[in-house]
C-alpha cells in the first residue's frame, strides 16, 4: 500500500537484506566455530561491514571483476560465490571453492568475477587494473572493483595502481574500506594524507567519502561511480567509513580498542539493523518478511557448516595437482 | 691452365647450406685404381654422413685430405690421374689449385641450385631449380619428396641429374618451406598442387621423380594429366600396394622431441648411424612450424588411415604404358621392397641392396645412375 520511497525495488531491498544477513550469519558462525577450534588457519571477519560489499555489488554483474582482501568473505558472498563452497573451503575440504587449496584468504570464483581474496595487502589493486584493461581491450563494458583497507592503502601497489588506472583511463573503482584500523594500528596515525579523497585527487581522479554503514549511501554513491567508469569516465575512489565488529583476525584480543568501543558501534552503527529498521519504518517491507529471511539464512549457514564438516578432505594426490611441478 | 689429364677430387657441396665437411675416412688407398662410381671416401656434414663416389676414373695418385679434418667445400682433397702422368705435373697441379675461400658459402655461387618461391592456387610453394650444366636446358625433371620430407631429400640427386636436365625439386604443400595449409590432403589434392606449381613455373611437361608419398603423387599426376608427364621414376613409392609401417607414420607425426624422433628416423635408413644430430634437429625444426602437425595428421588420415595405404594406383599406371622406373632399397622398413614388382613388365624395377627407405640418399650414386639412364631415354617415350 505504501509507495516505495527507495531507489531500489522491494525485491532488490529484500535481496540486499538477504545478502547482508547471509554475510553476518556466515561471519558470526565462523566466530563461534573458530573459537571451538573447528577451523584451521586464520580467518578475518567482515561482520559490521556488510553494507559496503552489498551496496557496491548490487551494481555489478558476473562480467564485472572484483579483487578482494584478506577480509574477503563478505565480498565473495555479495558477488555471488556459493556459500556452501566457501564454507567447505574454510574448513579445508575438497568440495571447497578452491578444492581446499586456498582457504579463507584465497577464496575465488572467476566465473562470478571474483578474482580472489588476497593474503597480500594491496595486491588486488594492480590485478584489477589488469581486469579492467581486459574489459577495455574487449570492449565489453566490464568494470573492476578493488577493495583495500585503510591499512593497505599505504601499499605502493595501491598507489601505483591509482596512477596506472588514471594514466590508462581504466574502468576501475578503488574502494577503501576504512574501518579505522590497520590490523591494530589507528588509521589516523598510519595514513599521512588523512583523506582518501585527497589521495584520489592527487592521482587525478575524483574521490568520494560515504558512510559505509549506510547501505543507501554506499549504494547510491557506488552506483554513480560505477556508472561513470562503465561509461568510459575513468577510475574513481570510494571511501567507505565503516566499523569492524571483531578483531583483525579471530583470536585478536583487541586490547588496542577503547573500552566499550565495539559495544557502542554495535548499538549505534549496525548497518544490518539500520537497513532493516529503515525499510520497515517506511512500510515497504514487514518485519515478518525480514524475520523469514533471517530464518532461511540461519538454516543455509547451518547446512553449509554441516555439509562442510561432512565433506571429504582433499586426497593426498591433490598436493601435486593444479600446478606445473618442476621437480 | 690445369692439366686436363689430372682430375681433382674436392670436398663436395651437398645442398645450399653446406659450407664445409669433415673427411671421416678414405675407402680407397693411395695408388688404387678407381672406376667411375666407386666409393672413394666418407664425408660428414652437419646434416648427414655420406659416401663420395668417383666422378671420373683413374689412379688415386695423391691423397691430401686427412681423416678427421674439416675442409671447406671445393677444397682439394685428392688427385686422380692416369699412371703415365708424371709426378711433377701432379705437384704443379696441386700447387696451382686455387682453393676457394673458407666459409664462402655465398648464395651467389655459380650454377648451384637456387631456392625460389612460386605463388600457386595451393599457396606459396618453395622449390629448388638447377639448370642443366651441360648445354642448354634439357628436359625438365621434377622431384617430389615423401611424407614429412622436403626438397633437401634430393641433396645428392639434384646436381647429378642436372648434368643432362633442368631439375626442379618441390616442397609439397604442408612441407619444407611451402605453405602449411592443405586444402585437400589426398593424392588428388597434392597432384593438383603439383600441376599448379608446373603452371606457375612454366613447366609444360616433366619427368616426375617421386619418393615414397611423392611417388604416389607422381602416379596420380600421370593419371590425371598424362600430357604433362614424360616419365615416372618411383623410388620406394607409395601407391603400389597397401602395406606401410603405420608405426613410422604415427611416430613421425607425434614425435615432439629429439628423443622421440630419432628412433623413428632410424627406420628410414639401412645404416642407422646416418641419422645424425643435425638431421633430427632439422626435422624437429620443421615439425615445430605452425600448421605442420595439422598437415601431417590430415595427410596421415587421408592416405594411411588404419595402417594401410588408401590409394593403390599400380594397375592404372601400368595400363598407361608410361616409361616407368621403380627403385627400392632392399632393407626398406617403411614400405616393403616387395612392392617393387607391382607394375610387372610395365616398368623397370631395381632393388638395391644395403639401402633402406631413403635409398636415393643411402645409395645416391646407384640411384642417380638409374635415374639418368631412365630420363635420358627419349623424353617423348611411348606415352603419347
Amino acid at each position: 500500500m505504501t509507495e516505495n520511497p527507495f531507489p531500489l525495488s522491494k525485491d532488490d531491498l529484500l535481496r540486499a537484506y538477504r545478502t547482508m544477513r547471509t554475510i553476518r550469519e556466515f561471519e558470526e558462525r565462523l566466530h563461534v566455530d573458530f573459537a571451538k577450534g573447528d577451523i584451521p588457519g586464520f580467518v578475518h571477519l567482515y561482520a559490521g561491514e556488510e553494507a559496503c560489499a552489498t551496496g557496491i555489488m548490487m551494481h555489478l554483474n558476473d562480467n564485472d571483476r572484483i579483487a578482494s582482501t584478506h577480509r574477503g568473505h563478505g565480498h565473495c558472498i555479495a558477488k555471488g560465490v556459493d556459500v556452501h563452497a566457501m564454507m567447505a573451503e574454510i574448513y579445508g575440504r575438497s568440495t571447497g571453492a578452491c578444492r581446499g587449496k586456498g582457504g579463507s584468504m584465497h577464496i575465488a570464483d572467476l566465473s562470478k568475477g571474483m578474482m580472489g581474496a588476497n593474503g597480500i595487502l594491496g595486491a588486488g589493486a594492480p590485478l584489477i587494473c589488469g581486469a579492467a584493461l581486459a574489459a577495455k581491450v574487449r570492449g565489453d563494458r566490464g568494470v573492476g572493483i578493488t577493495f583495500v583497507g585503510d591499512g593497505a592503502s599505504n601499499q605502493g601497489t595501491f598507489l601505483e595502481s591509482l596512477n596506472l588506472a588514471a594514466v590508462w583511463n581504466l574502468p576501475v573503482v578503488f574502494v577503501v574500506e576504512n574501518n579505522g584500523y590497520a590490523e591494530s594500528t589507528a588509521m589516523e596515525w598510519a595514513v599521512s594524507c588523512d583523506s582518501y579523497v585527497d589521495r584520489a585527487t592527487g592521482f587525478g581522479m575524483p574521490g568520494v567519502t560515504v558512510d559505509g554503514t549506510d547501505f543507501f549511501a554506499v549504494h547510491e554513491a557506488a552506483g554513480e561511480i560505477i556508472r561513470r567508469a562503465r561509461e568510459g569516465g575513468g577510475p574513481a575512489l570510494l571511501e567507505c567509513n565503516m566499523v569492524r565488529f571483531y578483531g583483525h583476525f579471530e583470536g585478536d584480543a583487541q586490547t588496542y580498542r577503547a573500552k566499550g568501543e565495539v559495544e557502542a558501534l554495535r548499538a549505534s552503527r549496525d548497518c544490518l539493523v539500520m537497513l532493516g529498521e529503515r525499510v520497515i519504518e517506511a512500510g515497504v517491507i514487514a518485519r515478518a518478511e525480514l524475520q523469514a529471511i533471517d530464518g532461511e539464512v540461519a538454516a543455509l549457514i547451518e547446512d553449509a557448516v554441516r555439509a562442510a564438516k561432512a565433506a571429504p578432505l582433499p586426497a593426498a594426490g591433490d598436493l601435486l595437482t593444479d600446478v606445473y611441478v618442476a621437480y | 691452365m690445369l692439366n686436363e689429364r689430372i682430375k681433382p677430387i674436392v670436398m663436395p657441396k651437398w645442398g645450399l647450406s653446406m659450407s664445409e665437411g669433415k673427411l671421416t675416412g678414405w675407402l680407397k688407398r693411395p695408388g688404387a685404381s678407381v672406376a667411375l662410381g666407386d666409393e672413394l671416401l666418407e664425408v660428414e656434414t652437419d646434416k648427414i654422413t655420406n659416401v663420395v663416389e668417383a666422378g671420373d676414373s683413374g689412379i688415386l695418385r695423391r691423397v691430401l685430405g686427412e681423416p678427421g679434418t674439416v675442409y671447406p667445400v671445393k677444397a682439394l682433397i685428392a688427385v686422380l690421374a692416369e699412371p703415365d702422368v708424371p709426378d711433377s705435373e701432379i705437384d704443379a697441379f696441386i700447387d696451382a689449385y686455387a682453393a676457394p675461400a673458407t666459409g664462402g658459402a655465398g648464395e651467389e655461387e655459380e650454377a648451384g641450385p637456387r631456392y625460389h618461391f612460386a605463388e600457386t592456387p595451393a599457396g606459396t610453394l618453395r622449390y629448388a631449380k638447377r639448370d642443366g650444366t651441360r648445354g642448354e636446358s634439357g628436359p625438365a625433371v621434377l622431384l617430389l619428396h615423401g611424407f614429412g620430407g622436403d626438397l633437401d631429400n634430393w641433396l645428392f640427386t639434384i646436381d647429378a641429374l642436372a648434368e643432362s636436365a633442368t631439375v626442379y625439386a618441390l616442397d609439397l604443400p604442408g612441407h619444407g618451406q611451402s605453405a602449411k595449409t592443405l586444402a585437400d590432403p589426398t593424392l588428388a589434392g597434392l597432384s593438383k598442387a603439383v600441376l599448379g606449381f608446373m603452371d606457375a613455373a612454366g613447366i609444360d611437361r616433366a619427368h616426375l621423380v617421386g619418393h615414397s608419398m611423392g611417388g604416389a603423387v607422381s602416379m596420380r599426376t600421370a593419371l590425371d594429366a598424362p600430357e604433362r608427364v614424360a616419365s615416372l621414376s618411383l623410388i620406394a613409392s607409395a601407391g603400389l600396394g597397401s602395406a606401410i609401417d603405420h608405426g613410422y607414420i604415427q611416430g613421425f607425426t607425434a614425435a615432439n622431441s629429439r628423443r622421440d624422433l630419432k628412433p623413428v628416423l632410424e627406420t628410414l635408413f639401412a645404416d642407422q648411424s646416418l641419422v645424425g644430430r643435425k638431421l633430427v634437429d632439422d626435422l624437429l625444426k620443421y615439425k615445430r612450424l605452425d600448421g605442420v602437425e595439422a598437415a601431417l595428421r590430415a595427410l596421415s588420415a587421408a592416405l594411411f588411415a588404419d595402417g594401410a595405404q588408401a590409394e593403390i594406383l599400380a594397375g592404372a599406371v601400368a595400363a598407361t604404358g608410361l616409361p616407368t622406373l621403380v627403385v627400392w632399397g632392399e632393407q626398406d622398413r617403411v614400405i616393403p621392397a616387395a612392392h617393387a614388382t607391382a607394375l610387372g613388365h610395365a616398368a623397370r624395377s631395381v632393388v638395391i641392396p644395403n639401402a633402406g627407405h631413403m635409398v636415393q640418399m643411402e645409395a645416391a650414386g646407384k640411384v642417380n645412375a638409374l635415374l639418368k639412364e631412365h630420363i635420358g631415354t627419349p623424353a617423348t617415350g611411348t606415352a603419347t
Binding site: 527507495f6 589516523e188 588523512d194 583523506s195 585527497d198 592527487g202 549511501a217 547510491e220 | -
Partner: protein, 357 residues
C-alpha cells in the same frame, strides 16, 4: 582582556558524491591547513594573540602545527597561540556542535568557520550571539562568501579588537527553523530547505531534480550555486532584506495535473550544482515572510537542508517551517575592510594623501 577567536575547520567537508556527479572541487587537507595559517597570520597581525580551535583527526591540526613550528624555527612568531578545545573527537557533526558550545562558553569574540554550508549550519545552530566568519572549502556552497581567507582573517581581527565598530563589523542573518512534530526547532537551515520525494538519505547531495517538490530559501541569489539559485533566478531576495522565498517544484516536463506543473508552471534551467545545469519544473513561488510558519504540502519524503538530504519524514510527521530574521550574526568582511581603508586602520602612521600632490 584580549579577544580570543574560535576556529572550526572541518576536515571532511566537500568529500561527497558531487565530486563524481557534478565535477565539484575538493579542497585538500593541506590546503585547508594553509588557509588556517593565512587566517591565523591575519588575526595575529590585528593583535589577536590566542585562538581556540576545534580538534579533529582529519590531519588539519598536524599540518597547522608544523607550519607554526617552522615559523618559530625561523625565529618568527606570526601566529597566535593555538589552544585546542578539550573534547573527544568522534569524526561526526557532533564535534562541531560541541566545539562551538565550548567556544561560546569560553567567551570567544568570533568563530572563523572553514567548511561547507553544512559546517556553517552546525556552528550557527550552537553559536548564539557569537559572530561567524565563514570560509568556503568547496565550490558548492551558498552561505560562505568566496573570498581569499586572509581578508576574512583581517576583517575578523579588526572586528574583534574593536577597531571596527560593531554596527559595521557584524551583520544579522536569516535562517529557517524546521519544526517536526512540534519540536522547535528540530533543525535549521541557513540558505535553503528542500523537500524531495525520495525517502532515503543515501549519498546526501541533491541532484535528481525529478524528485524536487518544495523549496524554501532565506535568500535567493542568482549569483550562487545550488537550490538558492533556483529561487534566485525566479525572484532575487537579498541576504539583507527581511523574509525569503517559497517555490513549488514538480518533475520537469510533466505538464498535466495532478502532479505536473499547474497552469502557468514553467521549466527553469538552474545551476543546482557546479557544472550542472538542470531542468527544474517550477509550479509557482511566493514570498516567505519572517515569522510566519509554513506547512508543506508534501506528505512524505526527505528534508534537505542547505543542499543535503538530512532526514526523512512520513505522513505521520507534522512539519512546519518558519523563517527568522536576525537569527545569528556574521562578520561583515566587506564592511570591515571598507571601514579599515577609510580610517587607515592598517597604516602605521595614518598620513592622508594631500590632494595637491
Amino acid at each position: 582582556m584580549t579577544p580570543v577567536v574560535g576556529i572550526v575547520a572541518n576536515p571532511v567537508s566537500a568529500r561527497d558524491i558531487r565530486r563524481v556527479v557534478a565535477n565539484a572541487a575538493n579542497l585538500q587537507v593541506t590546503d585547508r591547513a594553509n588557509i588556517l595559517l593565512r587566517v591565523l597570520a591575519a588575526l595575529r597581525a590585528c593583535g589577536v594573540a590566542e585562538v581556540l580551535m576545534m580538534p579533529e583527526k582529519g590531519g588539519i591540526r598536524g599540518h597547522v602545527e608544523r607550519g607554526v613550528a617552522r615559523a618559530r624555527a625561523h625565529g618568527e612568531d606570526p601566529y597566535p597561540a593555538i589552544h585546542p578545545v578539550a573534547m573527544p573527537v568522534t569524526g561526526t557533526v557532533e564535534d562541531t556542535h560541541r566545539a562551538t558550545r565550548a567556544m561560546r562558553q569560553a567567551g570567544v569574540s568570533a568563530i572563523v568557520v572553514l567548511g561547507g554550508d553544512g559546517t556553517h549550519r552546525a556552528v550557527a545552530a550552537q553559536c548564539g550571539a557569537v559572530p561567524i566568519a565563514g570560509i568556503s572549502t568547496g565550490t558548492n556552497n551558498a552561505f560562505p562568501d568566496h573570498r581569499e581567507p586572509t581578508i576574512t582573517g583581517l576583517a575578523t581581527g579588526l572586528a574583534v579588537t574593536g577597531r571596527v565598530p560593531p554596527h559595521i563589523a557584524f551583520a544579522g542573518n536569516k535562517r529557517i527553523d524546521v519544526a517536526i512534530n512540534g519540536e522547535t526547532p528540530s533543525e535549521i537551515a541557513l540558505v535553503d530547505v528542500a523537500l524531495v520525494a525520495e525517502r532515503y538519505i543515501g549519498a546526501r547531495a541533491l541532484w535528481r531534480t525529478e524528485n524536487f517538490r518544495e523549496l524554501y530559501v532565506t535568500f535567493a541569489d542568482p549569483e550562487v550555486i545550488g537550490m538558492s539559485a533556483i529561487a534566485g533566478l525566479l525572484e532575487p531576495v537579498t541576504r539583507g532584506e527581511s523574509g525569503g522565498l517559497m517555490v513549488r517544484l514538480s518533475p520537469a516536463g510533466q505538464t498535466s495535473p495532478p502532479s505536473g506543473p499547474r497552469p502557468g508552471g514553467t521549466i527553469l534551467r538552474a545551476p543546482i550544482a557546479p557544472g550542472m545545469m538542470a531542468a527544474v519544473g517550477v509550479t509557482d513561488w511566493r514570498r516567505m515572510p519572517a515569522g510566519v510558519p509554513f506547512v508543506p504540502e508534501v506528505e512524505a519524503g526527505t528534508i534537505a537542508l542547505d543542499g543535503e538530504r538530512e532526514l526523512s519524514f512520513t505522513a505521520r510527521d507534522r512539519l512546519s517551517l518558519t523563517l527568522r530574521d536576525d537569527a545569528f550574526r556574521t562578520v561583515n568582511v566587506s564592511g570591515c575592510m571598507r571601514h579599515a581603508a577609510e580610517n587607515r586602520l592598517l597604516t602605521g602612521t595614518p598620513v592622508p594623501v594631500s590632494a595637491d600632490l
